[in-house]
């Protein structure tokens, strides 16, 4: 129905503004596809409609009518369409396609829909929150699973399964939930089994200027008591104090230390979703500038406030981590509704506290727990449907960036690499997988996502080799236990690999990470070769033994045959034929003869972003410069650009 194509469309390279490619633009039900028709190699640019952030039709010029498409993954495409009418049609169609009204129109419901239902269903069990709570040691003598929210009857934005202090009775839970915004009563997010301290989360209390709630006070008292070694707890309000006070006028607000025995109250001052949305917009303007001068870039970056906001989130995480790990004091975290800043702060603290969340699976579990299950409003915040633009905000984006900033400070502490975080960021918006559709567990259950869509986590797990940080060293003393990051301003860097992800040529020419990943891959291949050689030797030995046995039977013992013992004792050669059977698996390993010297240069990069199964990710062919491959550093800057006064800024791209 929407299938249509426009020919002779030009795609402008927005980074250099110099090059343009001519081709045909296709609009399908799910993608915008641009096929270049001048090059010998077929170059295609695919953009998923759900990733389109804005479509802007600009004033016509003599060459045609420009159409600017901005994507949620920071790709910017500028098309020039010869006929204004065509441009108008494409504009209207794209606007319509990129802003569906109903969940059922989203890509995840049509993506790979024909795969085996049972397989798909099972894949969802890969991340299991029950297992996560029992990994933390729950339930135990201090914390119990409460059925209070089954059928979402206490809070429709909370998950069905919640953990509360053992002493919290149903009337206390009910009473407390009535005194909290959206019924989001204090409940457990993370339990630090080393010292029984816990991170709890909730929404703000409906305290207004003076209201009190006995059950809510009892609830907090129960939390204090469930940590036997402490006699008080922290209540962390993640909002700036002014915002929290303003909420009091609306009958909401924050806990009064006088009413709650044994709490210490603390503001951490993270700004609200509107401030964050505007801050990102400002930062993107800076990052999109073609030839930023030093003052434009640094001053623009600073005045956007983005890195300051990231720092605020990490600072809050550090505060909680100290309280839990060093003081052994439990913490209750809330903001207004307890699904944005609260999710950020709880999950950053979890990453700092527990090495498990620094593993691939651990991060998936963490996002599933603190974000998905606790009702972070993904569909609203990430603009999945045509909704209120004021609800949109880069909240989970900031969490992912916090993790990235930490991984820059602790390069050996994280099992996953930057690409993993970028891929999650991409799919938070792409709507290709069901994980982030909807705003809470209740909605997701009603949508039947686990029956109708695929899970991102199993896709990532299957491709995990692409996401492993080669520097990861789980056994090192500094990567174990609690991370204590620095939060001085110069420790927070601009994340070019995410925000300038699609700029050709702007990336550094060689990436240490990719280099090391290549080395890792090579090491694995060498291990396989080693195994295969060992097998060969064993086979030869087997044969020789047989022949020797024969020979010793038939002839004199021939010492020459026994003269070559295994050359390397550490290889651990099996001695008897019976030992060989266990090695059978190695026989299957592909034997690849390689020149060790050169292989490093010609290794194919694991290019998750260009997999054919993921057409929407295979955008601008060049966006991932192939790290150390010599070609990129050989590419000469073009003559034309060198004459330009701005040439020193020109991002020379690979030939």
């Amino acid at each position: 129905m929407f299938n249509r194509n426009v020919e002779n469309v030009r795609l402008i390279d927005t980074v250099t503004s110099r090059r343009a490619s001519v081709g045909t633009l296709y609009l399908t039900a799910t993608h915008t596809i641009f096929v270049e028709n001048e090059t010998e190699i077929l170059t295609e640019t695919w953009v998923l409609h759900s990733l389109v952030f804005s479509v802007e039709k600009q004033a016509s010029t003599t060459t045609g009518c420009p159409l600017l498409v901005r994507c949620k993954n920071f790709q910017v495409l500028q098309f020039v369409i010869p006929q204004e009418r065509d441009c108008h049609d494409v504009h209207v169609s794209l606007l319509h396609l990129s802003r569906p009204e109903h969940y059922e129109e989203l890509y995840c419901f049509s993506y790979n829909a024909n795969s085996d239902r049972e397989d798909r269903r099972k894949a969802w069990d890969f991340i299991n929150l029950k297992a996560e709570y029992s990994r933390m040691g729950l339930p135990n003598h201090l914390w119990k699973l409460t059925p209070a929210n089954h059928h979402y009857k206490v809070s429709d934005t909370y998950p069905a399964d919640l953990y509360v202090p053992k002493s919290a009775t149903p009337p206390v839970i009910m009473g407390s939930s009535k005194f909290r915004s959206r019924g989001r009563f204090p409940t457990l997010s993370y339990y630090y089994k080393e010292n029984h301290a816990a991170i709890c989360r909730s929404s703000q209390p409906l305290s207004g200027f003076s209201a009190r709630c006995l059950e809510d006070e009892q609830m907090l008292e129960a939390i204090v008591r469930s940590n036997p070694r402490s006699d008080f707890m922290y209540v962390v309000d993640t909002r700036p104090k002014l915002n929290a006070m303003a909420n009091r006028a609306a009958g909401k607000g924050y806990e009064n230390e006088d009413n709650y025995s044994n709490i210490k109250f603390h503001f951490v001052g993270i700004e609200n979703i509107h401030v964050m949305r505007n801050s990102l917009q400002k930062m993107l303007e800076v990052s999109e500038a073609h030839f930023p001068s030093m003052s434009y870039f640094l001053e623009g970056l600073e005045s956007s406030g983005w890195l300051k906001h990231i720092k605020a989130v990490v600072d809050a995480g550090v505060f909680i981590t100290k309280a839990i790990a060093e003081e052994g004091i439990s913490v209750l975290v809330h903001c207004s509704d307890g699904w944005d800043r609260t999710a950020q702060v709880c999950s950053v603290a979890s990453v700092l506290l527990d090495p498990y969340y620094r593993t691939l699976k651990g991060l998936m579990v963490l996002i599933e727990r603190d974000w998905v299950s606790f009702g972070h409003k993904f569909s609203h915040r990430n603009n999945h449907l045509n909704g209120d633009p004021k609800e949109v905000s880069p909240v989970i984006d900031q969490f992912l960036e916090c993790v990235w900033q930490l991984s820059e400070q602790f390069p050996c502490a994280f099992e996953y690499n930057e690409r993993f975080l970028i891929t999650i960021h991409h799919h938070v918006y792409s709507c290709q997988y069901g994980n982030f559709i909807g705003n809470n567990q209740k909605e997701r259950t009603e949508l039947g996502l686990q029956e109708k869509t695929h899970s991102l986590w199993t896709y990532l797990w299957k491709n995990r080799t692409d996401y492993i940080n080669p520097l990861y060293r789980p056994d090192h003393s500094q990567t174990q236990g609690v991370l204590r990051p620095l939060t001085a301003p110069y420790c927070f860097k601009f994340w070019g690999a995410l925000y300038n992800r699609f700029d050709r040529g702007i990336h550094p020419r060689q990436s240490v990470m990719e280099y090391l990943m290549a080395i890792r891959e090579e090491t694995q291949q060498l291990e396989e070769q080693l195994a295969s050689h060992e097998m060969k030797i064993l086979n030869v030995e087997k044969q020789q033994k047989k022949s020797v046995n024969l020979e010793t039977n038939m002839f004199d013992r021939s010492p020459a045959v026994w003269a070559s013992p295994p050359s390397n004792s550490s290889v651990g050669l099996a001695n008897t034929p019976g030992d060989y059977s266990g090695l059978g698996g190695f026989l299957k390993s592909p034997y690849q003869q390689k020149e060790p010297e050169n292989s490093l240069l010609i290794l194919p990069w694991p290019q998750e972003l260009r997999k054919p199964t993921d057409p929407d990710l295979s955008t601008n062919g060049d966006d991932q410069e192939s790290g150390i491959a010599g070609l990129s550093c050989l590419s000469p800057p073009n003559e034309e650009s060198a004459k330009d006064p701005d040439s020193d800024e020109t991002a020379y791209s690979a030939a």
Partner: protein, 590 residues
């Protein structure tokens, strides 16, 4: 010999450390009798006041505080000190204090109780005496050092050998002896490469038209296209627009030596306004009317005074503590990164012209020993992989900086108490910063690591080695520096392991074109903010690199061994097996 204790607390954490005690004794032998004062307070900007023992010798200042765990040690070569100042008289607490302003971004402050006047006086006097030996008519410590290393570092650079490596002399370029006794130009090296068809007599006439006699000479030649990088000083054009037929002919000869191009690019490192202002002082720049086929490009790099001021501001912003708010705009206000960007961008344009345009270039600034050295050496680093090895980089420094007369003595002010001298400027520091920026973008292209760059900068000031002494080759010959001092390269090359980048892959034929966008330049935190203990790296990444590479190397070795064994065995089993096969029928019975 290890300087880990003072080189860099953060790096000593990163790199394998060697206990200093043995070397300390070793070095002590060469010291004058040290002066020791007890109960001195070091006012550390990060930890607070520390009480301990201060020792001052003719090489170093050594402060040790044993009151705390771990023991605090401050070990500072006096060459790093740019200024010693008494801070006030006796304070209310009866303490006197003085501050040391250092060339490596630090400021140190000591205080002690009012002691007998003589001791107090002597600490200050000893510091003033040994920190500024030149001002006191004393020799610089490098002349007394005399440590023996396995290698003579002064042999690293041999001009003839380096030109030979470049394929020179050839049919277009010759090596001239005209400057053998530094008569043509006293700030140039004795070995010069010039176009074949220009006689020594003509060279002398060209020298008369170039500032300080610094004629255009070859720095580097492209192995394939024969395009060259040549360097010189500004032409003495003056307000009247003087011309020199010899100079014009000379530049034409440089162009003609490269058959690939009928153009010559002249890169004037200065902003055009500055270049024009130089005409008032008799200098100036080449007019395109006089120099046919030449195109003049200004690279807008500022002079030594602007750079000195920029570093001063940078120091204010980063030391000792960084203001929490406005970090980026404070950094911006120093313009340091902007200067770095302009230098790298200039070098990139030069490298691009030579590599992609196959065109020869002439590079100059005013005198051709500051910005010109930065530009030619960086361009050569981009163009020629040899200079990206440890020894190649040493050759590059020896050649483009030392032999071509970058005035290290004046720019650094070794042993000179005149700290306000307007000739001081961080020109070489900027160059090393640019190199560091390149290593960030091409982490596998350089054989040396960050520690090598930091060590080089530390010994730029330390005066332990003779490498960076004097202003020119002629001065070094006259002072017999190579005979009487040890070269830094002797020390470096005696423990290469510590300075080697584990990720290095020899891309000798590759040309590097770094991205010179603001988004890809960053402040070299590991150098400028290294004194801040909070900057201590969290994890030993380099160790991890080495482990990964070592594992691969070990596996490669084992695979090769087994490969050989497989070949041997299958060969021997064939030999051994052949009779078996002949008796196969028997086997069925066994």
């Amino acid at each position: 010999l290890s300087f880990n204790t003072w080189v860099c607390p953060s790096l000593s954490y990163l790199w394998p450390t060697v206990g200093y005690s043995d070397q300390w004794d070793d070095l002590n032998k060469r010291f004058s009798p040290p002066l020791t004062a007890k109960d001195v307070t070091y006012i550390c900007p990060y930890i607070g006041a520390l009480r301990g023992t201060l020792t001052v010798t003719n090489y170093r200042l050594f402060f040790k505080c044993t009151d705390r765990e771990p023991v605090f040690v401050l070990d500072l070569p006096l060459g790093v000190v740019s200024r010693v100042e008494k801070i006030g008289g006796a304070s209310s607490r009866g303490e006197v204090s003085y501050g040391l302003v250092c060339k490596d971004i630090r400021n140190l402050r000591f205080a002690h109780k009012q002691m007998e006047d003589s001791l107090r006086k002597s600490i200050f006097e000893v510091l003033m005496k040994f920190a500024f030996p030149v001002s006191n008519g004393l020799p610089i410590f490098a002349f007394e050092y005399g440590q023996v290393y396995p290698e003579n570092g002064w042999k690293v650079y041999d001009a003839q050998a380096e030109y030979k490596r470049q394929g020179l002399p050839n049919e277009s370029w010759r090596i001239t002896k005209v400057n053998d006794h530094y008569e043509l130009c006293d700030t140039y090296p004795s070995t010069l490469v010039v176009p074949v068809n220009i006689s020594d007599e003509e060279l002398k006439r060209v020298a008369a038209f170039r500032a300080k006699g610094r004629i255009p000479v070859l720095s580097w030649i492209h192995p394939e296209s024969q395009a060259t990088v040549t360097r010189c000083s500004q032409p003495m054009v003056g307000v009247n627009g003087k011309r020199s037929k010899d100079d014009e002919k000379y530049l034409q000869a440089i162009m003609d030596a490269n058959a690939q191009s009928h153009k010559l690019f002249i890169f004037d490192a200065r902003p055009s306004v500055n270049a024009a202002a130089n005409k008032m002082k008799g200098g100036g720049y080449e007019s395109e009317d006089a120099y046919q086929n030449a195109e003049l490009v200004f690279l807008d790099i500022h002079n030594i005074h602007v750079m000195r001021e920029s570093l001063r501001k940078l120091k204010e912003v980063v030391y000792p503590n960084i203001e929490e708010s406005h970090w980026l705009s404070n950094l911006e206000s120093t313009h340091w990164l902007e200067h770095i960007k302009l230098i790298l961008a200039g070098a990139l344009r030069i490298a691009d012209k030579v590599e992609s345009g196959k065109t020869s270039v002439v590079v100059h600034c005013s005198d051709g020993w500051d910005r010109t050295a930065q530009l030619t050496s960086l361009a050569m680093l981009m163009l020629d992989g040899h200079y990206r090895t440890i020894r190649g980089f040493q050759v590059l420094l020896e050649k483009e900086w030392l032999s071509f007369g970058h005035r290290f003595q004046l720019r650094i002010g070794h042993g000179d108490k005149n700290h306000t001298d307007a000739d001081r400027s961080p020109v070489f520091l900027q160059f090393i910063d640019c190199v560091w920026q390149m290593t960030r973008q091409f982490p596998a292209a350089f054989e040396f690591n960050e520690y090598f760059l930091v060590t080089t900068l530390d010994h730029l000031y330390s005066c332990l080695f003779g490498t960076f002494l004097c202003n020119s080759e002629q001065q070094r010959v006259k002072e017999e520096v190579p005979k009487k001092t040890v070269s830094l390269w002797a020390y470096i090359n005696s423990q290469l392991e510590e300075f080697t980048n584990p990720l290095y892959v020899n891309y000798s034929n590759h040309v590097l074109f770094p991205v010179v966008s603001m988004r890809h330049l960053e402040l070299w935190v590991g150098y400028y903010i290294r004194w801040n203990p909070r900057m201590r790296p969290q994890e030993p990444v380099h160790q991890r690199y080495k482990e990964l590479l070592a594992k691969r190397a070990e596996l490669q070795k084992r695979v090769e061994e087994l490969q050989r064994e497989v070949t041997n065995r299958s060969a021997s089993s064939e030999r051994a097996g052949s009779p078996t096969r002949s008796i196969t029928p028997v086997q069925t019975f066994v």
